[in-house]
C-alpha cells in the first residue's frame, strides 16, 4: 500500500550515498527471513552491515559478528536500520539518540510497516534524519533501476542517462 509518508528521491539518494555502515537491529540468521535478504543485498552493494540481535549475539550472520545491542558495537555506524515492530522501534531509537555522537549515527531508518511517530519526532529533535515504512534494499534498487528489472513502478521519470552503480 502506498504510504502517506513521502521522501524525495534526492533525500533518499543522499542517505544511501553518504552511508557506509549500517547497524541492522533484528537481523536474522535464517536465510529465508526478510532481514537476511536485505543484509545480503546491502553487503553486495558495498555497505558494511553489522547485525544486532540479542538472541544470537556472539554468533555470525553473513560473515559479521552479531551484537546484543547498539552500544556493544565497537565501530562507528551512520545508520540504524530497525527490523522490529513499531513499538520496539521506540526504545531502539532512544538508544540510537543516546549513542549518536559517540557512534556517528546520522539516520534512523525503520523498515516497511514500522512507523513510530513519537520516536521519529525525538530523533529529529536530536538532529537525526528519519525514514519510516521503507526498506533500504528496495529504495536502493528503486533508485538504481534494479527494481524496474522486476516490473515494478519505480516512479522515476527521467531522460537523463543513468550513472551505473551496480554492485
Amino acid at each position: 500500500m502506498s504510504s502517506p509518508l513521502t521522501y524525495t528521491n534526492s533525500e533518499l539518494l543522499a542517505i544511501l550515498r553518504d552511508t557506509r555502515t549500517i547497524a541492522m537491529v533484528g537481523a536474522s540468521p535464517k536465510w529465508n527471513r526478510p532481514s537476511f535478504f536485505a543484509m545480503k543485498y546491502l553487503q553486495e552493494k558495498g555497505y558494511r552491515v553489522i547485525p544486532v540481535n540479542p538472541g544470537v549475539a556472539g554468533g555470525d550472520i553473513l560473515g559479521e559478528r552479531v551484537y546484543a545491542s547498539l552500544a556493544e558495537i565497537p565501530e562507528k555506524f551512520e545508520m540504524v536500520d530497525i527490523f522490529r515492530n513499531s513499538a520496539a522501534a521506540g526504545p531502539i531509537t532512544d538508544e540510537a539518540i543516546g549513542l549518536a555522537k559517540e557512534k556517528g549515527i546520522k539516520v534512523v531508518w525503520m523498515q516497511l510497516g514500522v512507523i513510530n511517530e513519537d520516536a521519529a519526532a525525538k530523533a529529529r529533535a536530536a538532529g537525526l534524519q528519519v525514514v519510516m515504512d521503507r526498506c533500504p534494499k528496495i529504495e536502493f534498487g528503486r533508485l538504481n533501476a534494479e527494481l524496474s528489472w522486476g516490473g515494478f513502478n519505480s516512479g522515476i521519470i527521467s531522460a537523463k542517462r543513468r550513472k551505473l552503480r551496480l554492485s
Binding site: S10, P34, G113, E146, G150, F152, I156, I157, S158, R162
Partner: protein, 436 residues
C-alpha cells in the same frame, strides 16, 4: 534530475509524459534513447554466489527470459505506472494474464465470481478450461451488486469484471463492486483492455488487480500478442487465510513467504517467480518493444478512437437497417451515467449494433465491407468488424451469447482512426448490401 522534478512521484506527471517516459530511461551502458530489444534468453552470473542470490530472490537481476527480460520489464514498469499500480507482470496474451492472475490467488476447489457479460473467450476460458485446475467460475449479472454479494461463498477468492465490456456498450460499476469485494476481503480484478488506463483508472475506484490484453489498444498496431497483470500493491494478502500462494511459506523457495519478504511487491514477485516460471507463458521481447511503441501514442489514439466511434454510433442509431446500437457513448445508453463516471474521456471505440435482418444480415454485412477488416481483434488503428455469433462467440450457447450481448443479429465494430466520413460511407454501403 532536478530537485523540483525529484519531488514528483511517478504519478505526479501527466499521463502523456508517463506514457512516453515511464520505464524507459535511456539505457545506461550505451545511452541508447529508444529501448533496446534484448533478444536474449539468459544472463551471465558474476559468480556462484551471485547466481545463488538471484535464484533465492535475494537480489534483483536477470536469470532467464522466461521469468524476466529487460525489454519486457520496461513495458511492465510503463503499464504499472500508467495504471498507478505497484508492479506489472507481462505475459504471452490476455488469456495468459488471466491465468497468471488467478494462479496467484486460487487453490483447487476455490471459486470466483465473473460477469456474465465478459468477452466470450474469457467466458470459455473461465467456464471450461479453468475447471481442469479445479477453479469454479460463478457467472453473475454484475449490474446488480446485491446479486454479486449473494453469490459469495467462503471459497470465493475474487470478483472479475471488465471496466468496459467486450463486445460493447456495458460499463461496470467499479466502485460498488469494489465495495462488495472489500467486505468479502477478496480482490476485485478488472480487465481494463477496452478502456485502457487513459480512459479508466480502476485502482482509483478500489480495484486491486488489473489485467490487459496488450494486443489491443495498448499496442494499437495489430502486430503483437501480449498480456499484463498489474497489482495495486494495496491488498493485504495476510488478512485472512485465503491466499496461501502469497502469504504462506512457498515450498519451491524453501519456505519463503512472499508477502512477508516483499511486502506490497509480493503479488508481482510471485507472478514472475512462480507464475511465469511454472506456467511459462512469457511475453516475447520483440512484442514488448512493439507494445512500448504503441503506448507512446496511446492518449492521442484513444481520443481519436473515441471521437470517431461516437460519430459513427450516432449515425448508425439513425440508420433504417439498424435495430439498436449498444454504445455507452450514446445519450440513449442505459450505461451513460456509469460511462460519465468511470470513462470521462470517452467510452472507447468498440461497440455493437443489432441488425434488423438478423443472423443472415450480419454475415452479409461483414462480407460487404471494403474498408473494415473482417477479423477477430479489436483496438487496432484500422477499423475492424466481426459477427460474434458466427466467430468469437460461436462456442457459447444461445443463452450465453445473448447474456454476453452477442446474439445472432449482433455485429461488433472496432472503430479505427481512418477519416470518419470514409468509415461511415463503408458501413453505409455494407448495410445497404446486407438489406438487399
Amino acid at each position: 534530475m532536478s530537485d523540483k522534478m525529484n519531488r514528483k512521484s511517478g504519478r505526479d506527471y501527466g499521463f502523456e509524459t508517463r506514457m512516453i517516459h515511464a520505464g524507459t530511461q535511456p539505457e545506461p551502458v550505451t545511452g541508447a534513447r529508444q529501448t533496446p530489444i534484448f533478444q536474449n534468453t539468459s544472463y551471465v552470473f558474476h559468480d556462484a554466489e551471485h547466481a545463488a542470490s538471484l535464484f533465492n530472490l535475494q537480489t534483483f537481476g536477470f536469470i532467464y527470459s522466461r521469468l524476466t527480460n529487460p525489454t519486457v520489464a520496461a513495458l511492465e514498469e510503463r503499464l504499472a505506472n500508467l495504471e498507478g499500480g505497484r508492479g506489472a507482470t507481462c505475459c504471452a496474451s490476455g488469456h495468459a494474464a488471466q491465468i497468471l492472475a488467478f494462479f496467484a490467488l486460487m487453490e483447487p476447489d476455490d471459486r470466483f465470481i465473473a460477469s456474465t457479460r465478459l468477452y466470450g473467450g474469457s467466458i470459455t476460458q473461465f467456464g471450461k478450461t479453468f475447471k481442469k485446475f479445479g477453479w469454479q467460475a460463478d457467472f453473475v449479472d454484475v449490474d446488480d451488486p446485491e446479486a454479486v454479494r449473494r453469490a459469495l461463498t467462503p471459497k470465493t477468492k475474487a470478483i472479475f469484471v471488465e471496466s468496459l465490456a467486450n463486445p460493447g456498450g456495458v460499463v461496470s460499476d467499479l466502485e460498488a463492486l469494489a465495495g462488495v469485494a472489500r467486505e468479502a476481503e477478496i480482490p476485485l480484478i478488472v480487465d481494463n483492455t477496452m478502456a485502457t488506463p487513459y480512459l479508466c483508472q480502476p485502482f482509483d475506484w478500489g480495484a486491486d488487480i488489473v489485467v490487459h490484453s496488450t494486443t489491443k489498444f495498448l499496442s494499437g498496431n495489430g502486430t503483437s500478442m501480449g498480456g499484463a497483470v498489474i497489482d495495486s500493491g494495496g491488498f493485504d494478502w495476510t488478512r485472512n487465510g485465503k491466499f496461501p500462494g502469497l502469504a504462506a511459506p512457498e515450498p519451491a523457495y524453501h519456505g519463503l513467504n512472499f508477502h512477508e519478504t516483499f511486502g506490497d511487491m509480493a503479488f508481482t514477485m510471485q507472478a514472475h517467480a512462480v507464475g511465469l516460471r511454472d506456467l511459462g507463458a512469457t511475453m516475447a521481447p520483440m512484442h514488448a518493444f512493439q507494445t512500448l511503441l504503441g503506448t507512446e501514442t496511446l492518449s492521442l489514439r484513444m481520443e481519436r478512437h473515441c471521437a470517431n466511434a461516437r460519430i459513427v454510433a450516432e449515425y448508425l442509431e439513425g440508420h433504417s437497417a439498424v435495430a439498436w446500437v449498444s454504445s455507452a457513448a450514446l445519450a440513449s445508453s442505459p450505461y451513460r451515467a456509469l460511462a460519465e463516471k468511470y470513462l470521462p474521456r470517452g467510452a472507447g471505440s468498440v461497440f455493437t449494433i443489432g441488425l434488423k435482418g438478423g443472423y443472415a444480415a450480419g454475415v452479409k454485412m461483414v462480407e460487404g465491407c471494403e474498408l473494415f477488416s473482417h477479423l477477430a481483434n479489436i483496438g487496432d488503428v484500422r477499423s475492424l468488424i466481426l459477427h460474434p455469433a458466427s466467430t468469437t462467440h460461436r462456442q457459447l450457447s444461445e443463452a450465453q451469447q445473448a447474456a454476453a450481448g452477442a446474439g445472432p443479429e449482433v455485429v461488433r465494430l472496432s472503430i479505427g482512426l481512418e477519416t470518419v466520413e470514409d468509415i461511415i460511407a463503408d458501413l453505409d454501403q455494407a448495410l445497404a448490401g446486407a438489406a438487399a
